[in-house]
């Protein structure tokens, strides 16, 4: 199968998965005892007022009708309206997703930039002290409750030492760079505004560090394992036997081959990190979809929850698709 056809096929396969996801969340959202209409109507609402809202959002229609309506909207990129705020969920997601994505990308950048070299070092020094220390850190990093780590680092670095802001994406008083991509770092560069760039980075660094530790540890451990496995393989032994210096063997043969399977893991950790934002965004007042999802969940505002679920699901699948494509570039032997 050619790469183009493979891509199309994978995108087609995405459709039933997304439909399944919507059915799943839809079922979840409709079997609850909650009465969102009543909540939306307010404390002193008359029964007629509640009924008006129920009518307006089609909550009196048969479930199947409600679901079909939802799907029909989804095809047009319409995630429905929040019953509590009456916002279009698609607008909310569009304004918040860049904040989350920028945060996750920054965290993943840190995780890869630190995790990959650490993983390789760990493998090279297998079972010697650098390896032992690195592994201990790795197992510690995946064991730290990320929400707690957020609070503790906020206490230490922001509150006590004042090194970084307590939270938020940008100082409230200042206007962030022109919205072109929604990523403040990129937007400020596009605008040639160094001050804005540094300000954004200053706000981004703490939440990014907090979110990066788990993927960092996972990437490090995976890469270590993959490097060890490749080092044990015949062609590496052959290269060594031929007298090639150890370092060049590692650079030329081992790294590339070890990195390919690790890519899958990087793709997966990206998705988990995206999920991890629900635990830390609120701590940092980060205006992304994680905080949005938690707020909606606590108020049982299901249209936004479904929106986030579907969006994150699609993002997850697309990232893994991207990983698969990268495979092909890195290793031409792979056939789809």
């Amino acid at each position: 199968m050619g790469r183009g056809r493979f891509l199309i096929w994978r995108l087609v396969l995405l459709i039933p998965t997304v439909i399944g996801l919507t059915i799943l969340t839809f079922i979840i959202s409709r079997v609850v005892p909650a009465d969102p209409a009543k909540l939306a109507a307010g404390p002193r609402a008359t029964p007629e007022m509640v009924e008006t809202i129920r009518e307006k959002y089609g909550l009196n229609d048969p479930l199947i009708t409600q679901y079909v309506d939802y799907l029909r909207g989804l095809v047009r990129g319409d995630f429905g309206d929040s019953i509590l705020t009456q916002h279009k969920v698609s607008d909310d997601l569009a304004s918040r997703f860049p904040a989350t994505l920028e945060l996750v990308l920054a965290a993943m950048f840190l995780a890869v930039a630190i995790g990959v070299p650490l993983g390789v070092l760990s493998a090279i020094y297998q079972n010697r002290w650098p390896d032992q220390i690195a592994r201990l850190f790795a197992v510690s990093f995946v064991s730290i409750p990320v929400f707690w780590f957020a609070i503790i680092l906020q206490l230490a670095l922001a509150s006590r030492l004042g090194l970084v802001p307590l939270g938020r994406r940008y100082p409230t008083r200042d206007t962030p760079p022109d919205d072109r991509t929604g990523f403040f770092l990129i937007d400020s560069l596009l605008a040639g505004d160094w001050h804005a760039f540094l300000t954004s980075a200053h706000h981004l660094i703490l939440p990014a560090i907090v979110l990066s530790i788990a993927p960092l540890a996972i990437i490090m451990r995976t890469l270590r394992g993959d490097v060890l496995e490749v080092m044990g393989q015949d062609f590496v032994r052959t290269a060594r036997a031929k007298g090639l210096a150890s370092r060049s063997v590692i650079r030329r043969h081992v790294l590339k081959n070890a990195f390919i399977p690790s890519l899958t893991m990087i793709g997966l950790t990206f998705g988990w990190t995206l999920g991890g934002t629900v635990l830390v965004e609120a701590v940092f007042d980060w205006p992304g979809i994680g905080k949005y999802a938690v707020d909606a969940a606590v108020r049982l505002d299901f249209q936004p929850i479904m929106g986030v679920t579907v969006l994150v699901g699609i993002a997850f699948v697309l990232i893994n698709l991207l990983v698969d494509l990268l495979y092909g570039f890195l290793d031409p032997r792979i056939e789809y």
């Binding site: 609850v32 005892p33 909650a34 009465d35 969102p36 009543k38 909540l39 939306a40 109507a41 307010g42 404390p43 002193r44 609402a45 008359t46 029964p47 007629e48 007022m49 008006t52 809202i53 929040s82 509590l84 705020t85 009456q86 916002h87 279009k88 909310d92 304004s95 918040r96 509150s159 307590l166 939270g167 938020r168 994406r169 100082p171 409230t172 008083r173 206007t175 609120a282 701590v283 007042d285 205006p287 905080k291 949005y292 707020d295 606590v298 108020r299 049982l300 505002d301």
Partner: protein, 540 residues
């Protein structure tokens, strides 16, 4: 025809006193002195300009006057829109705003308002009688937001534009607090709404985050879940009476401590929704004022009067005698006062002396009178997930009631799940703590919503209390214009619901919205959503 006496009704509302008192205010030099609720500061110190940041845990999801209604939303609405009358200042005095005055018929059914001919919307068109009629009809038609205020009182077609400057409302039934309700009719520019209508939605999609009002501020930044910036309109039709800020930003910040630290460092000027502990810390800080303003909000535990153990009056009385009120105030960090009954002591006509005190022996006596429940039982206390003080209340109550052999399950529940339970007495929680804010300073606003049988099943009517005698009294109160007579009626209602222990009457919060000393002109207003009022606020 005679003038409505409503203006004076809230005059018992007392002003604020700063926790740190006078001394520190003086020490701050040019800073504000906080005396009795008004900021007395030399005019020279106040300057034009600057942007104040108001940090709150609460978002402003929808400012459509026909839809959105809660504290933070109302603050925004009041800056963007004008109303016929406004509640102003610590005593929540009714001040004519878009109106120049009004008349009311003897029987309190026909209300006629004359409008200020100078009032204009942002596009220069006049704020006329048609706009007022349009706005109230739109509200009642959409049947959301504060539409409940007019339920059974005003039919939309009975709001009539007599001429450009005169509006007349003919009510179905006498309604003495009607003038208060007028402070909630935000007047929209019909042309602007219609221009932004999509599929006959009466502008609902657009008005979520846009204003069609004539108010002193306009929206300049709108980032849901993050921040909202409001900018002063230099051409405001009513003009500006005093130095004022260029604008203000409503910043959404969840964490209490984050806000506290930002306030200490001067990054923000106001911080709302702080924990009692953080407020206490701030009250010892230089540069920060922690006002102590009695509110007209009440905090009570709704008891299910229809089903289960709490349907038994002896059980309800036992619970009321068992609660540790002092511990509750302690937990609130002193930012609360005991209430005697369902009304805040700051409200005119409220009963002042608490009847129930913690007395376990009395509680045991009362419980022993119950045939069915004397031996003890299991009972649910349902609070809203995330509301700290409600959770603490539950734990205090559980600890006390265990001495009576009553086992309390403290259950956290999401708002949406909880409100779904109220509709039916069978599912209504046995005990449910609730803060009831007031949309206007009048006993009717609270008592009707809690104890009139027609309210049973709403949030505020979660007790499902049904008493024909109380119904009759409340109806009489609404149609009585004479203030003294009304107070007498509401005293009777209070005595009945206190005696029957319909709810457990806990406390009325002391509002403390700490602010920076450089803020001048902040006055707490007890009506929900009336403070701060940036029209009169400036920064040193």
């Amino acid at each position: 025809m005679k003038r409505s006496p409503e203006n004076g009704l809230a005059n018992q509302l007392t002003g604020s006193t700063s926790r740190r008192g006078l001394l520190k205010g003086t020490a701050a030099g040019a800073g504000a002195l906080a005396i009795g609720g008004t900021q007395i500061a030399p005019r020279i110190a106040a300057q034009e300009g600057g942007v104040a940041i108001f940090a709150s845990a609460v978002d402003i999801p929808n400012i459509d006057p026909g839809v959105g209604h809660d504290g933070a939303i109302s603050v925004s609405q009041k800056h963007l829109y004008d109303t016929l009358y406004r509640h102003m200042g610590a005593s929540a005095e009714l001040v004519p705003w878009l109106a120049t005055g009004h008349t009311v018929s003897e029987d309190a059914t026909v209300w006629t308002f004359t409008l200020d001919p100078n009032a204009t919307f942002k596009d220069g068109s006049p704020v006329n009688a048609d706009a007022v009629v349009y706005s109230i009809q739109r509200l009642i038609g959409l049947n959301q937001g504060v539409a409940w205020m007019f339920d059974g009182i005003l039919e939309p077609e009975n709001a009539v534009a007599v001429d450009d400057q005169t509006v007349e409302f003919t009510l179905n039934t006498p309604f003495a607090p009607f003038l208060h309700a007028m402070t909630w009719i935000f007047v929209l520019n019909p042309a602007e709404v219609q221009a932004n209508e999509v599929d006959g939605d009466q502008g609902q999609a657009w008005l979520v985050g846009n204003s069609a009002g004539s108010g002193p501020f306009t929206i300049t930044r709108w980032e849901p879940g993050n921040l909202y910036e409001f900018t002063a309109d230099p051409d405001y039709w009513k003009g500006w009476e005093s130095p004022h800020v260029d604008g203000f930003i409503h910043q959404v910040s969840v964490e209490s401590s984050t806000k506290r630290i930002a306030l200490q460092s001067g990054d923000i000027q106001f911080a709302e929704w702080l924990s009692p502990q953080d407020k206490t810390v701030l009250s010892n800080q230089a540069g920060v004022v922690v006002p102590m303003d009695p509110s007209i909000t009440t905090y009570t535990i709704k008891l299910n009067n229809q089903v289960g153990p709490t349907a038994d009056i002896n059980v309800r009385r036992a619970i009321s005698w068992a609660f540790d009120y002092d511990a509750m105030i302690e937990v609130m960090g002193g930012f609360g006062t005991r209430i005697a009954g369902p009304l805040s002591p700051a409200l005119t006509g409220a009963r002042q002396e608490p009847f129930y005190q913690m007395d376990i022996e009395k509680a045991k006596e009362e419980l022993a009178k119950s045939e069915e429940w004397a031996g003890g039982f299991d009972i649910d206390f349902v609070y809203v997930t995330g509301l700290e003080e409600e959770r603490q209340t539950g734990l205090i109550l559980a600890d006390q009631l265990s001495q009576l052999g009553i086992n309390v399950n403290v259950v956290g529940m999401e708002w949406a799940n909880a409100v779904a339970l109220f509709a039916d007495p069978e599912t209504s929680p046995a005990m449910f703590p609730i803060y009831s804010g007031s949309d206007y300073p009048d006993a009717d606003n609270y008592l009707w919503q809690s104890f009139h049988s027609s309210s049973a099943g709403t949030w505020t009517g979660a007790s499902h209390y049904i008493n024909p005698e109380v119904d009759a009294l409340l109806e009489e109160g609404r149609s009585t214009i004479d203030e003294a007579a009304r107070i007498e009626i509401y005293n009777q209602v209070q005595d009945i619901v206190i005696d029957e222990a319909v709810e457990v009457y806990l406390s009325s919060p002391i509002e403390a919205v700490p602010y920076r000393e450089e803020v001048i002109g902040y006055v707490y207003s007890p009506v929900m959503g009336s403070s701060p009022w940036f029209y009169e606020i400036s920064l040193v």
